[in-house]
């Protein structure tokens, strides 16, 4: 029967810097390889709509004739399917999280 089995752990952490970080004053550094947000740069985009077809949540909307490209950020699950499919490599995934939004509208890029 051990009454003080936790004491060792408690004393060790009492004398150390706390493990919790002071977020939001110290922002969390994302790990490399993490899937944060989609980064869109449409300079080479041909509006082939492959990204919209592969998107599992239908977050991307592409209109070939009118040359529109928009994404609903709240539907995007950052699965990386569109990044892998784009033949012109216009889409990429950055490790930092997207900024929080307060409205449910689509982000229009073209």
């Amino acid at each position: 029967m051990s009454l003080f089995s936790m004491t060792g752990l408690v004393m060790k952490w009492l004398l150390r810097k706390p493990y919790t970080s002071r977020y939001p004053f110290e922002p969390r550094q994302p790990l490399p390889g993490s899937r944060g947000t989609l980064v869109v740069s449409l300079t080479d985009c041909t509006y082939c709509s492959l990204c919209a077809k592969r998107c599992p949540t239908q977050a991307i909307e592409v209109n070939r004739a009118a040359k529109h490209w928009n994404i609903d950020r709240l539907r995007c699950i950052t699965c990386n399917c569109c990044v892998e499919t784009c033949p012109k490599k216009c889409l990429s995934m950055q490790t930092a999280h997207g900024i929080p939004t307060v409205t449910k509208d689509r982000e229009v890029f073209a």
Binding site: Q58, D72, L74, R75, K104
Partner: protein, 128 residues
């Protein structure tokens, strides 16, 4: 790697007898599942013993069907049978613990049953 998964066909009359044989031989109930095949429901009872897998399968009409409950032999079956009743509208006679349709409170009663399927809308709800 494909595991051996034998399927034994039974009828609603022979179901309880077959299940009693398996129960006496020490098989445990793994799951009870229903697949809708249009006009019929295919009910599948899965059993396991020492990593061997066995299925009992029977077919019942989709509308107004009823089956004997096996919860007298396997008490844990009450949960599966209540779920099947709430989703597919199949009545089970002799349920050990009958929730009388209140296990899942869905907006549409019997959402997986055929008559619900006939009226399934294909419009996707757009976010506002």
């Amino acid at each position: 790697m494909r595991e051996e998964q034998p399927i034994v066909a039974v009828t609603p009359n022979t179901l309880v007898g077959e299940v009693k044989t398996l129960c006496d031989q020490g098989w445990r109930l793994v799951q009870i599942g229903v697949t809708s095949l249009g006009e019929l429901f295919e009910v599948n009872y899965s059993f396991d013993r020492d990593q061997h897998f066995l299925n009992l399968r029977l077919q019942i009409p989709a509308a107004g069907a009823s089956l004997p409950s096996i919860s007298g032999l396997y008490w844990c079956a009450f949960l599966y049978e209540n779920e099947i009743h709430d989703l597919f509208d199949v009545t089970f006679d002799g349920l050990a613990l009958d929730f009388k349709g209140t296990l899942y409170k869905t907006a549409q009663p019997f959402p997986f049953a055929n008559r619900a399927r006939a009226g399934v809308s294909t419009t996707v709800v757009q976010p506002v």
